[in-house]
């Protein structure tokens, strides 16, 4: 998709792909035939630039025709570079400005609780966003309101544009911080499906407080030449690179 678009964020999309897949195909109570079902679970992709991962999963889950996936980033395409709720209704909320998605997720969780709906809300945040003050304000609010229908998933790939996350203003010890904010906090391998399922099951069983899952991930996961290479944060592959990458992932252009 990022090859066709000539822009986009392949690295951060691949790091979160396993988590998105686990959510969209297993955990979320959603129905492609009734996308507006009020009792559905909500997924907020706060790191909106990982859009290709979510588009791909939602298309293959039946929410829209996978044929439009290659239109990513084209003028007039519903597939915006950062996920957009108005152009693609299967997206719960438009994101992109760092730190804002988690607050929206808190609002959605409050809404579900007020309405006594069984909906659960899952927010995927990036580690770069963990420097944004808004993320911490939203974490405060989620802890204060003891939102046990809220799950925060941190895509901890430790790489962002041009550098390792921890080489700048570091966010560690991040697990201690989440705990101090009142979250049941788990650390898992974000590419191990049984670990992801187990964490999500524990979150569902947790009452009286929200859950934070720190998913240790690899930027560019599954593509040998992209893995852990910060250069692939915001750079699309060439045709040759895209072909090699997809061959490694078991697909084709």
């Amino acid at each position: 998709m990022t090859y066709h678009a000539g822009s986009g964020h392949p690295g951060g999309s691949l790091s979160v792909t396993d988590i998105v897949t686990a959510l969209v195909f297993h955990e979320l109570r959603i129905d492609a035939d009734h996308p507006d079902w009020p009792d559905r679970d909500r997924l907020v992709l706060s790191k909106g630039h990982a859009a290709p991962a979510l588009y791909s999963a939602l298309a293959h889950r039946g929410f829209f025709d996978p044929k439009i996936l290659p239109t990513l980033g084209e003028i007039g395409s519903p597939l915006q570079g950062n996920v957009n709720h108005r152009t693609l209704p299967a997206i719960e909320v438009s994101t992109g400005a760092p730190g804002q998605g988690l607050g929206v997720a808190v609002g959605m969780a409050l809404d579900a609780r007020l309405a006594k709906r069984p909906s659960r809300v899952y927010a995927i945040i990036g580690d770069g966003e963990c420097r944004a003050g808004l993320t911490w304000e939203a974490l405060l609010a989620g802890g204060h309101y003891a939102l046990d229908n809220l799950v925060v998933l941190l895509d901890r790939n430790d790489l962002e544009t041009g550098h390792r996350n921890e080489d700048r203003i570091g966010i560690e010890p991040i697990a201690d911080k989440f705990r101090a904010f009142g979250y049941d906090t788990l650390e898992i391998d974000g590419h191990n499906f049984s670990a992801i399922f187990e964490a999500l099951a524990r979150a569902r069983a947790t009452k009286g407080r929200p859950t934070a899952i720190i998913a240790r991930t690899v930027k560019g996961k599954g593509v040998s030449f992209m893995e852990n290479q910060e250069a692939w944060h915001g750079k699309p592959p060439t045709r040759e690179e895209a072909e090699r990458a997809l061959a490694e992932l078991g697909g084709s252009l």
Binding site: G96, A97, M108
Partner: protein
Amino acid sequence: MTERKSASLGEAYGQALVELGERDPFLVVLDADPSSSTRTAQFGKRFPERFFQVGGMDSTMMTIASGLALGGRPVYASGFAVFAAGQGYSAIRQSVCYNRANVKIVATHGGLLVGGDGAPYQMLEDIALMRSLPGMTVIVPGDGPTTRAAALAIASFDGPAYVRLTKENLPILTDGSFTLGRAAQLREGSDLTIVAIGAMLARALDVAEELHRAGVEARVLDFASIKPADEKALITAARETGAILTMEEHNVLTGLGTLVASVTATTSPVPVRQVGVPDLFGESGDPWKLLDHYGLSTKHALDEAWALLQVRGKVS
């Protein structure tokens, strides 16, 4: 100057909120003012489960409001204008407006009239910020009845809105027959038009009264509905009166005056003079004396009116 009965805009908003809460069981209210001086407390007392006090988190109030609204609820979010619109801007842009979320932002403490707290609390740029957001409705009521009417009017559509209120009590000038997108004519006249908002509305009427004593009849338009703007009323005023004076408690570079000038310039260019806060920050002081200090006095507006009339050749 005419003696008039004054009332609190915040109080009118607070009462309207309770009314709205009774009407719509899904409506929720958020408040980022830690002291609840934004008058949402009445709603909170009445509907505690639908009231969220998020004191000090103006930006996050906007993101949380968006999440609540996307579930189908009307959301009213209040705070001091300088923080709600200023600090909250990015969240209003991305999480509220870009999603077309049904969030009604009612900001209190707009303008210089905050007084003693000085520039950090005196919001003079919010009309510019909010008006430039696609899909945003912007209202600046000039009295209590219009505040109540505006609070109810924005509930009638699905989408974002920004209402700017003033901390000080303001004279009651209207019967609250506010209509979105319509300028209300508070005084008839054909020699000049004064277009005013907020606290400047009473001063506009005072200027018109002074002019009347000198034999000049000024039309006065209450332009509370900034966006959508009543372009027709402005063009009619330009054609019928030939000169326009604008009065606002906002940075004069980017508020009502520039709006009026740009609308009239296209189809019926007439001289427009703007009374507003110069391009600078305020300071601490007695609220009403601050207005005078920064050139928003009735006297200065009157001078501007005479200057316009001179340009038009209506006086020598």
